[in-house]
Symmetry: C2
Subunit: 328 residues, 2 copies
Amino acid sequence: MERRIVSAIEVAKLANVSQSTVSRVFTPGASVSEKTRKKVMKAAEELKYQPNALARGLITKKTNMIGLAMKDIQNPFYHEVLGLFTRKLKEKGYSVLFVYTENEEIQQEEINHFLEYNVEAIIVTDALLSSNVVTRLTANNIPVILFNRHDKELMCHSVVCDNVNAAKRIGSYVYGQGVRDAVFITGKVNTSTSRDRQNGFIDFFRDKDTDITILEGDYTYEKSFHLTRNMIQKGHIPEVIFGANDITALGALDALKECKVEIPKKTMVIGFDDIKMSSWPNYSLSTWAQPINEMVEKAIDLVTLKDRIQEPELIKLEGKFIHRATTK
Amino acid sequence: MERRIVSAIEVAKLANVSQSTVSRVFTPGASVSEKTRKKVMKAAEELKYQPNALARGLITKKTNMIGLAMKDIQNPFYHEVLGLFTRKLKEKGYSVLFVYTENEEIQQEEINHFLEYNVEAIIVTDALLSSNVVTRLTANNIPVILFNRHDKELMCHSVVCDNVNAAKRIGSYVYGQGVRDAVFITGKVNTSTSRDRQNGFIDFFRDKDTDITILEGDYTYEKSFHLTRNMIQKGHIPEVIFGANDITALGALDALKECKVEIPKKTMVIGFDDIKMSSWPNYSLSTWAQPINEMVEKAIDLVTLKDRIQEPELIKLEGKFIHRATTK
């Protein structure tokens, strides 16, 4: 059965207005008098008119679609982020065109999707874009917002938690608890989140003339679990393990428990993100909570600003430390 | 800076072909001779032409967009599902328009999004649609596929794991282990997944003239944890707890551990889904693995079939039981 598409022209005729008036009535945010809106809606209802966003997108050059590129769907942190983005964008009248990428650096062909549909902005979580991709998007007047990542070489906005400062404060806290033998398990080393957290932690201890041990993780539970277990089996039981994110910390925590290390008495464990699982009684993981509500809102503000800010902005938000059972 | 949009007309001129030929070159699946394709691509490359899917969608009535409505982003099962859908759809040339719903029954206004963008099909995971919504979509010739849900009153295709049979087999297994005191913790009771698993489990034990205890969960860890802890504190330690999904089972497992119940010796625990967390050493949860790879592929087949099957199909796939440390 072919779709019987009622056109805006028919609605305009019935309502006795112009076609562009009809278009305005169905464009979120466009200004139309209440009287006109009622007239048009009445006609549309009678004819069962379905506004065509494709057509509107061509005419007005506004599609109300935002491209959202997400990597690492496995990490619960990004599930919460995805839920917040889609809900808050929806409240503002936007649809989400979703691309799942497996690359740390998003390539041209993945972005083509977004370009073909004339998205109004692109939000990239947990990944970067190659600089020629950014250049092309900027040339097309499409703002790009990096979420939970930043890179000063790229002409993009970024919204992040102040990872460096948070890691310093974590360093300060454990040092205050008497820790002189700390281990940091990295995430993927080529990500700004892992680098910033590592640098903040190292910087703090360097100022205290104290060395720390760095183990190279990859943001997975499994790697962290094995690194920790190996370390303990070789006889090194540190006073604290700081994991680059909660998933990393949970892997370390389970390895310590398997090796019967008393937590937090012998070894404290700290994560980063405050995913839901961290509050499960069995884990009760101390962690740094990223202010994701606020981060998502700032990112959306950057997308929806009337006067597009041309200079790339780096917005850093604070978050807070959550004490649970894995710290003293 | 205004976007300088190169039109298909300009490409056609330069390549010395018709505009509809240009359109066919950029439409996935459309047939075009290799010689023509090269000519057009060369011209497009020179002019830096960006195919406009909006325009193509209007002209061809095919947008290559699939609407994906998802609820319950918290459950790791759906993260894996989302990743599979977006990846496999992308391989077939489709984009995903993503809607996150908070309603158990998706309403008209959420579907309007999809209609406005002329999506070619809608896949709904973990939720139902109201029947008037389904009727409207069918009238617009848009197939709807329910994933991990079914409802015979709705004219939709469904792809599910055979939950009833799986639950019977779990019943059979534990009965064979000597269990006569079993507890089932439900998910959300108005979902077909929870109902089917409960019915399969109950049916098995009814045939053996054995009662089982049903506790009403809601697919969250927290509810299951509290139900289990209360039950144990009141003195009832069952021989098995079967949770309607893994998240439910993990809540029960942690409560049992907190109450120092020996697992699996005193109480076995079984979940459903086989999310990643279930294989973490600390949990090592026995569970029924849904064949999600196959389920996603079947759902996509239903979307992409050339001859649209009009009769709603219910596709049930099997999966398998995974023994880990929480069963004997």
